[in-house]
Structures are given as structure tokens and as C-alpha cells.
């Protein structure tokens, strides 16, 4: 019987160290209180029925001590926990992009090169993997215990998260947010593979058309190209080179064109309009499936030169290239 889960991701050791600290604190105080309670109860047991013990006067100093010590401890926990949290939430650059769609009750996974999987995810070890996740129906949660990795997949937006597997093996994939009748059946496996094995896996099997190519097709189908054309005087802004850039909005604000902004621009175009373009784009909410959205976004990403060294923090860019639906 296992008592402790495997450590198979880059942040698992950090989470476990934090856990160890908290276990130590928990054990110390539980034992302290338990020992004190039991020993007082025995040492000061009632010896005669009419006994009245002396009054012990309260001590302000003592109250202060047992207020300050827990306060100090929880502050340590907070900062340590926050540090680990930032490590978990900030994706590194140069990650492998994988797109996940959750629906009752399965995980659909699309790799950039067109590989598709169902309830299985193959990843290489030693390389960060960035998941862009969407739900077609209710809230799901992508949970890989061995990676100490969990993220709710909320319908209506993208959930973005990352991990880096460190140990080859086969690990449980669970849905952790209750999602209906077969919630406990929405499970699968994550295969962490040595890079060479991963390349072999990638080259095997039918890799269909790439995600960006599928997105390009949808771009035509939905007639996005009629407005977002690459020519002067087009009704919509150009999308080339858009991803990761800072966009100037009407009203003087700016926004970085990330997945969330692109998604919003498709489903709720009037929310943040690009400077210089009229609010003429209709909403596509409900007209494009979640998988389709992911493909469109992969396509728009493909229009920007990789690698993302360029996608630096939102420094005000000097060029004022209107770019937005």
C-alpha cells in the first residue's frame, strides 16, 4: 500500500517540501496540545468532590506569545506557499503547446502537429508542457496527482497551465471537479516519455492535419478573412504578427493579445475594441465549438513568428499597428 504519491514533475518536490513543513507544524502542535491536555487532566484530576482549585490569573504576556508565534508561523507558510504557487502558475517560455478539451465525460487532447488523443496524454520528460484547456459543457478539472498539478477547466474561457514531467512513467489523470453522472469515469493516463521515445511516438501514428491548418480552414469557413484581410483598408485589423503583441484599444487602454484576449474578441468582440476600427464584428459565441476555437487560436498564433522571446512583458510597443478583429 502506497502512502505517498510519486514525484514526477518539476514542482512536485517543491510542493512536497512545503507539505513536509506543514506536517511538521501540524504534528508538533497536535502533539503539544494533546500532551498538555492529557497531562493536565491527569495531574490535576479532582481528588475530592468539594475541591475548588485556586484561581490562575490570566496573563496578557502569555496571550501575546500564543498570538504572535502562530502569526509568525502562518506568515512563513503564506510566503512559502505563495512562492510555490508562482512557480506553478507562471509558464516558462518555449513550452510544448497542447490543447485540451474537456466534455462530459472525456478528455480530448490535440497536439500542435495534429495528433489527437482521448483520455491519454503523451509528453516528453524534461520539457515544459503548456496546456490550453477549454470545456464544452460544465466545469472539469485536469488533475495529475503525480505532477501535483490541477487546474479547473471552466466553460466560457481558456484555462492555461503548465507542467514539466521529470520521470518517465504512466500516471493517473483524473477529473477533480464534479461534472455529473460519470465524473469518476472521466479518467485517463498521462505518459511521460524520454525525449527519444516521445519523438518516436510523434512520428508514429497518423498525425492528421496540423492544428494551425485546421484553424486556417475554419478561418475561411467562418468568413473571417473577408474582414481580417491582409490589405490596406480592410474592415478588420490584420492578424499577422498579432499574438503576444500589445494592442492599443479605443479609449487609450492597451492589452496584450494573449489567448484570453483572442477568445474574448471572437465571443464578445465589442468588449475591447482596437483603436481605429468600428464595432461591426458580430459575436461568434455559440457558433464555434471549443475545439474550433482552439484551432482558430492555434492558427492566429502561427501567424506570429515563434519563439516567444519576443513575447516579452507588456512593455509599450513603439509601433502602433492596429491589430484586432
Amino acid at each position: 500500500m502506497e502512502l505517498f504519491p510519486q514525484q514526477a514533475s518539476s514542482f512536485a518536490p517543491h510542493v512536497d517540501a512545503l507539505y513536509g513543513f506543514l506536517i511538521a507544524v501540524t504534528a508538533f502542535f497536535s502533539l503539544l496540545i494533546g500532551t498538555l491536555v492529557v497531562s493536565f487532566a491527569i495531574r490535576y484530576r479532582r481528588r475530592s468532590p468539594g475541591e475548588i482549585p485556586p484561581v490562575v490569573h490570566e496573563s496578557g504576556l502569555l496571550e501575546l506569545v500564543w498570538t504572535v508565534i502562530p502569526l509568525g508561523l502562518v506568515l512563513i507558510m503564506f510566503f512559502w506557499g505563495a512562492a510555490v504557487y508562482f512557480r506553478i502558475t507562471r509558464p516558462p517560455t518555449g513550452a510544448i503547446e497542447i490543447y485540451v478539451t474537456g466534455k462530459q465525460w472525456m478528455w480530448k487532447i490535440q497536439h500542435g502537429d495534429g495528433h489527437r488523443e482521448m483520455n491519454e496524454l503523451h509528453v516528453p520528460v524534461g520539457q515544459p508542457v503548456r496546456l490550453t484547456m477549454a470545456s464544452e459543457d460544465v466545469i472539469h478539472s485536469f488533475f495529475v496527482p503525480a505532477f501535483r498539478f490541477k487546474r479547473d477547466v471552466v466553460p466560457g474561457r481558456f484555462s492555461i497551465a503548465w507542467f514539466e514531467a521529470t520521470k518517465p512513467g504512466r500516471y493517473h489523470l483524473f477529473c477533480a471537479e464534479y461534472c455529473g453522472t460519470r465524473h469518476s469515469g472521466m479518467i485517463g493516463w498521462v505518459y511521460a516519455m524520454k525525449p527519444a521515445d516521445y519523438q518516436a511516438w510523434l512520428s508514429g501514428g497518423a498525425a492528421g492535419e496540423s492544428l494551425a491548418a485546421a484553424g486556417a480552414k475554419r478561418f475561411q469557413e467562418q468568413a473571417c478573412n473577408t474582414c481580417h484581410a491582409e490589405q490596406a483598408g480592410a474592415r478588420g485589423p490584420s492578424l499577422v504578427g498579432l499574438f503576444g503583441k500589445t494592442v492599443h484599444l479605443q479609449g487609450g487602454q492597451t492589452v496584450v493579445a494573449d489567448e484570453a484576449y483572442l477568445r474574448e474578441s471572437i465571443t464578445n468582440p465589442q468588449a475591447r475594441l482596437v483603436e481605429g476600427y468600428p464595432p461591426i464584428m458580430p459575436t461568434f459565441q455559440g457558433l464555434i465549438s471549443e475545439e474550433g476555437l482552439l484551432q482558430l487560436i492555434a492558427y492566429i498564433k502561427s501567424l506570429s513568428p515563434s519563439p516567444a522571446a519576443g513575447a516579452a512583458p507588456p512593455a509599450p510597443s513603439t509601433e502602433r499597428k492596429p491589430a484586432k478583429p
Binding site: P91, F243, D258, Y261, S306, A311, P313
Partner: protein, 103 residues
Amino acid sequence: MSGNGSHRHPTLGAYFGVFVTLMALTALTVWAAFQHLGIWNTPVALSIAVTKALLVALIFMHLRYSPRLTAIAVAAAVAWLAILIVITVSDYLTRAWLPIYAR
């Protein structure tokens, strides 16, 4: 009145004065709504609403003449409403702060 002098009531004049003020403020807020005040339309409308609510509470509802505990209860309600709205909205406002567009 309940017999002793601890609960003073406003005079009839105060009631009518408050009524006239409330009507005037209603007219003002409608007028202001049509003006182009930039980002100030909403704050102006809400400030007028808060003023009106305070007048109703203080005079019509005798809050001004009530025990301190009553005022504390109302203050608690407003404070808790503020907690609910401010913290919830702060989540929405800060969601875009973490740049996660890197690739």
C-alpha cells in the same frame, strides 16, 4: 411618540423638505445622465443615489434619532456589501495581470 423624550422625531417641515429635495435630486440625476461627463457619469449617478438613500434613512426612517446600535447595524450591512462587491470585482479586475501568453 413612545412616551418619554428619548426618541425625538423630525418635524413635519423636515419631511416635506426631504421630499422636495428627493424630487429635485431625481430630476438632477435624469438630467445628468444625458450629459457627456466621460468616466464621471456613473459616479455622479451613484453619488446622487447615495445622497437620496441617506436622506430617506436619516429622516424618513429616523436613523438620525435612533440608538447608536442601529447605526452600527446599518454600517455593518454596508460594509459587508462592500466586502462582497469589492473582493469579487477585484478578482475580475486582476485576472489579466499575469502575462501567460508566452509560447
